[in-house]
Symmetry: D2
Subunit: 350 residues, 4 copies
């Protein structure tokens, strides 16, 4: 990014900071000393709030980040000689530097294509039935991302169909909820409706992208999978000694309802941007805008020109694709600036 420009952040929802509701609880948790390793006044309370919010007596664990949350959950759902079925664009496949393979001590990820970043029952079955000999890792888990890497969401019907296929082949169902709150907001569905009610065994619910500094919650609806999981977290370097600085901010999100309003805001901003971009001649959307990300195809010169103006965004999806991600603190003003800049850079050549 050119030094003369103030960066303008739409690269990811992890460029935003701590939201006020989370910060308030963080500051409150800092008012007094407290017990370590989760035995404080905040952690059990936050876990209870998750159970209320999901209307289910699930097991809840807090870890530092998404790599760990997904990798540890997956390692508890299978063994080293099992495989995990995921979409070819899944974060666990493309952006964790082999984290799932490392924590599971060698489990293989089997990837499937699928429109709009979504796994299909057929895609899953194709991978399961491709091989059945011991020379290839046995499929044991389906991992899907809700909302997906390309800003779409699985409907409840789609989730039920995947669960049915998982049942057919004795597979466990893992949900990477890096943007789970955005999916709830998008589908106007409760957390329960998108998880245990459709047969999800374990959910990794991201707080970081939702307004925290760090912190992901792992929820096991299939509680057998959570046996001794606290030992696993400890051994794997994911037990915070000052746990309250993860759990209290989480509690801030949950008790205030910010977990949802943050997501609703981000989604609304993405829709605003999406509509604005689609109104510009020469801009075409790559995927439906169903959560807080907008993917558009832009000519190379436009991408360069926007970067030169300080806009931060990723271009990893295919040739000419640009991803803009909105967060809890994205403003209409910022998006209007972007829309104006996109219009301007496109006009230059037009």
């Amino acid at each position: 990014m050119p030094s003369e420009c103030t960066p303008r952040f739409l690269a990811s929802d992890n460029t935003s900071g701590i939201c006020p509701e989370a910060m308030q609880y963080l500051l409150e948790a800092n008012q007094a000393d407290d017990l370590a390793y989760g035995n404080d006044r905040w952690t059990a309370r936050a876990a209870d709030r998750f159970r209320e919010m999901f209307d289910y007596d699930c097991d809840v664990f807090f870890v530092f980040n998404g790599t760990a949350a997904n990798s540890l959950a997956l390692s508890a759902m299978g063994r080293s000689y099992h495989s995990v079925i995921c979409h070819e664009l899944a974060h666990i496949e493309t952006d964790e530097c082999g984290g799932p393979e490392f924590f599971s001590n060698g489990a293989k990820l089997l990837t499937s294509p699928g429109a709009n970043g979504k796994l299909t029952p057929q895609g899953i079955e194709a991978l399961v039935t491709k091989r059945s000999d011991i020379h290839y890792p046995k499929p044991k888990v389906v991992s899907l991302t809700q909302a997906t890497e390309v800003g779409t969401v699985y409907s409840r019907e789609e989730l039920l169909a995947i669960r049915a296929m998982a049942d057919k082949h004795d597979l466990r169902l893992h949900m990477d909820g890096a943007r789970f709150a955005n999916a709830c907001a998008s589908l106007n569905a409760s957390p329960a409706e998108l998880t245990w009610q459709v047969g999800v065994d374990a959910l990794c619910f991201s707080g970081t992208k939702n307004g925290l500094a760090f912190g992901e919650a792992i929820l096991f609806f299939n509680r057998e999978l959570a046996e001794d999981f606290s030992y696993r977290c400890k051994q794997a370097g994911q037990l915070a000694s000052k746990m309250r600085y993860v759990s209290a901010p989480w509690l801030g999100l949950l008790e205030s309802g910010a977990w949802l309003t943050n997501a609703e805001h981000a989604n609304a901003m993405a829709r605003y941007l999406s509509e604005g971009l689609q109104a510009l001649p020469g801009v075409s959307l790559m995927f439906p805008t169903q959560a807080n990300s907008v993917f558009v195809e832009l000519p190379p010169h436009a991408i360069e020109a926007l970067k030169a103006k300080g806009w931060t965004f990723y271009t990893f999806i295919g040739a000419g694709g640009a991803r803009f991600v909105c967060a809890w603190n994205t403003t209409v003003e910022l998006l209007d600036q972007l829309l104006a800049d996109v219009k301007a850079v496109l006009d230059v050549r037009a």
Copy 2:
């Protein structure tokens, strides 16, 4: 802890909160969006400050906690079929739930006794020379804790003697600096004098115990060992997406000098408590008080009575041993209360 009592925290330096200097930087880092994964305005600056402070062009990495810092550093210093020599009371042996074995994929820890929680050159050599066949893991690393688990410190002479022994047997030297700042304060020595100048290859410097919410810095003075280490951190779930919430508070500690004044305060409080306890009849110190921990032998009824009064402390060191740990925010008032309570519970039976 009985519910009627307000807990009074001397269990560990991880029951204290975020110190003001760290909090100030955290709040400042929260003023604006910033790039993720350490590409923000804070992380490089914090790493540079470490290099200045150690007067050495070392490689610096930030991870979430001590389990990860030590385990990842050790895994970079050897391979799965190597072994790590450490004191029998070392945290990596006694309190990481097999973290070093997990991250290294099987390296064995070989433990040595040693007075005052300290390894000796003789103890190291005894382990190295015990076996030399391929049926036993080959020693590759010496790990020592500065300050030690029992609140003592290695002098520069002791460190040089250990380094000489390490050289004799081609061993790398790892320092668990969970309380490194306390050691610097205790010895009135610079960070350089206690690390690369005495041949330390890698240091894990704890910020958590020094006044942060989370965050340890791994410093490689032997930079060959740091090759591709950033990939290791990422794969192992230790790369924070919002890294600035680790690095900015660290910068607060470093730029304000709080890293040292916090330690000096904690050490002074420990000395105050140690002297007060020794003045009581029937109380005997288990180890010299050289850092921020005080270990005393107390009769069982006294331990029970103190716990009933809400004091939190550990009793894991031998029969009748109690550990009190002071932190950056421990007050003379709190310690006076403790001394009064100890006196009272001892008098009861006397």
Copy 3:
């Protein structure tokens, strides 16, 4: 070993070769091509013979060596954050170069002392109850060696007492049967009586020490632990493509009864040697001779002199201890030579 001497082998039962019964089957298996990966005419038959011999419908797997057998069985019986309780002299602790830690991805071995190389219920309980927090790996498995590393055997009563303790603390029971046949012979007990009838969950039965070139059988009496175990063997490099060269020789041992007669012979030879040594002045036995190993204390000059005469034996058990191991092909002539040589070297100084 001095080059002028012909080596005389009593170092271990792995210096002996393939016994005639095993060789006959090996040669027969070599008469024609056959299917790979255990789908041949021999492997299922060998597994069936194990089930008959143990009078139990157990799951049977063949692997190459003892490191793999024990490490894979243990990795199936726990997870990386669990621990395995074993005797401080157990082979898995002292001579596998961290194999169990490697295959389990970090499980810790917790060692216990115990007279005559044997774990006791009290020793097990002491380790289980020492810690119950998540900072230390949770005990999940007891591993005992039958016959032990020092040539003794667990009686059925001792095994039942260990099983009772294992039940009390929800532990699984693994038996390292490197010299299981010798234990059966020594106790005049059936394989069933020493395994599933006393609650053993998994047995690693060594063929190598019993007269094969390679090959260990892993028998799971607790069949839940064997779920997908064939995948584990494959992934871990322990599935032989020409499996019949492991399974056919095993079948030779089983169908001929050589598995037992070989062990009986080795035990008898050990008793002969033990009695002969005890008859010599100045020689004292270190452990009762209950299987095929004899441990005696000899003066250093005697050990040197015997090695100079070409005798191969280990001296790893304490100062001055020498271990002589008899095998299926050890002869009275060889032992008489040894006894004469021991007598001679002791006389020299007397």
Copy 4:
């Protein structure tokens, strides 16, 4: 396979047995006891013969099977956060049940297409340059199979071009030599010409497919990579206690020259079969027959009919593809029977 049929083996070169030259040495090694763990009279001699045969002072290790050989070699060539570039049909990707991922503790395999089962410099570069961020494992090794999985061979020119690309991107070069002898025979090239002279860092040379019962040799031409490798083998369950039963048969292959004549014979048989099949109407070859495997497309009814006649062969390569593999003991008579049967089953429908 229908029980009424005698199986006729062309499924793989691992359905054949031990060749006479190997058996002779095995029997000789069984004449007397010998030292364990490779300290016998055979192992060093076999390693020396490899060094003579390759005209290079390489480090030589013996392991049990190909899964282990490749996985251990690769784990020594990179770390868990590195990746290995291989062809999409490479055995390490398709048939090791995640072995490379397991032994390396998580390294990812990156696959590339390529005509005739061969990697190309362009394919390698495409994978290396696709990503350069820490969120994806860093490519460190190129693994190629010589001869390939589809029975073709890399010429020296192709190998040199791959080496040049590896140099450009600082990659190490691993050769899976499951059929290395067949490649030497096919190219009429010396072992040296196909390995260190073209920059191969490590070769896994299969004895099992060449006429042994088990046993692969790992040769490190880049000896730095072999540092402490014997510990790795031991820890990973690949150190045979009765090592002479791997090394003596290897010596038989090497000293008799059978390693090459066996391969020449198998290749000649494959050419004979290939020519015979091509002469039949309606049969088309899928890949050039350059080593000991023949891949042909057959109509489904023909495949079924041949299996019904007892022929064992694989059909894993694409729709309608059949693989026939010749070995050291394949006879013209057997191939003539196959050709007659193929002709007959094709005629049925014609």
